[in-house]
């Protein structure tokens, strides 16, 4: 079985598990939507203010809650399950890419739904939003690769579920800054290319780092 077939197998396994458990769609997604509802209660329900902060808040919530999506299964796995998966002979890098791809799919769904909630609740203007699908795709890819890598590093250790967000949140900053700045620059009539390129480079670095470290981490 080739590398990509192995990765596809892992992706479908993870997606089947998600379909059965509904963790992302029935727990994390409503939780993110509740966060979007709570913020105006804390900062005030002034319509112009909400319109101004809406986009940035959307990305911040995607980053914070997206971590929960990208680490959901790796940190929940036992060492025995990891060992069993390693014994099947599936390439460690294929496992990494497969898991990240499953998280990518779920993150795209998460971002799209939360994006719609943001538009409805915050009345965010939709000018220049042709860029949004591109940003959603890159953020989902970067965050899924980063979360899967961090979860592989921490794996079954003590406090794993709490530690992974601590590692992921600061490292996801290039994605957060890139996504918010790209839209802001576009609104001001500039070019977003530099920000988009920065996000693509960060994502590629994460993909390479994840693939290269997959085997040393599987030895554990």
């Amino acid at each position: 079985m080739g590398f990509f077939s192995q990765a596809r197998l892992i992706t479908s396994r993870d997606l089947v598990r998600e379909r059965r458990s509904g963790e992302v769609l029935w727990v994390t997604l409503p939780f993110g939507a509740i966060a979007l509802l709570l913020v105006p209660m804390a900062i005030g329900t002034d319509a112009p203010l909400l319109e101004q902060v809406g986009t940035g808040l959307f990305w911040a919530i995607v980053m914070l809650f997206g971590v929960l999506i990208s680490i959901r299964q790796t940190t929940g796995e036992t060492q025995a399950q990891r060992d069993q998966l390693a014994l099947t002979g599936i390439d460690a890098a294929a496992i990494y890419i497969g898991r990240a791809t499953a998280s990518f799919v779920l993150l795209v769904i998460f971002e799209v739904v939360l994006g719609l909630v943001t538009i409805v609740l915050y009345d965010v203007p939709v000018s220049g939003w042709w860029l949004v699908p591109i940003l959603i795709t890159i953020v989902a890819a970067g965050l899924s690769l980063l979360g899967t890598l961090a979860a592989s590093i921490v794996s079954t250790g003590r406090n794993a579920a709490a530690l992974v967000p601590l590692l992921v949140a600061p490292l996801s900053i290039p994605l957060l800054i890139g996504a918010t700045q790209a839209l802001e620059v576009l609104d001001l009539g500039g070019s977003s290319l530099a920000w988009v390129l920065m996000m693509i480079v960060s994502t590629l670095v994460l993909a390479v780092a994840g693939v290269l470290s997959a085997r040393p981490l599987q030895e554990i």
Binding site: G157, R158, L166, I173, A209, E219, I220
Partner: protein, 247 residues
Amino acid sequence: MTDPTPTSTSTTWPWIVMAVAGLVTFVASMTVSPDAVQGQLSRIMYVHVPSAWLAYLAFIVTMAASAMYLWKRDLKWDRRAAASAEIGVVFTGMALGLGMIWAKPTWGVWWTWDARLTLTSIMFFIYLGYLALRRTTDDLDVRARRAAILGVLAVVQVPLVHFSVEWWRTLHQPATLLRPEGPEMATSMLVTLLIAVMAFTVMYVAMMFKRIELGRLEDAVLIAEQASDGAVAGAAVTTPTIGRGTA
């Protein structure tokens, strides 16, 4: 893997070196003339800048030692990486804290959303995560391998922090020492700053020595505890001796 061997921590020279280096920095920074514009406040710079330099140095050493661990799989490299990261976190915290103390009277705020400040605080949290990661398992090899991968990856923060003042428009001043046109500072201040940087570097070496020594002892204790935990039931039971035990 090299088995950790318990050694004594009674080596005193690192303590003496640290005390002398601290004293040198204190005397040098207190005797130099104050800055014409900032006055006495400028003395913070003689600790703030060396602290930031040590943070860079420490995290680069962590990266190099982590890479060496991944290559050689020898735990001595892991102990070096961990010791350096711990020292780096302390000095990053010090650089941030002193910067805030300087910023309040100068900029009027403790904190501003400046690229250098923000990226330095992110670097601080990433390495706190590194230290937290080391506490997730008691298996020395597993801990070393996980930490080494993060130790190599996390170093990207160092050039980001250093060049942030060039890449973004920041309130934080650009490089004063390491600039192509040469240092932009009065000679007496420059000499004092260089003395402080050298003293801090010597202090780092002494701290590394003590922390590695302590790390070796910690590992030895961990191994001893694991060995006692793993003793089989009944291991303490020995063959009964008949009579006086002599044939």
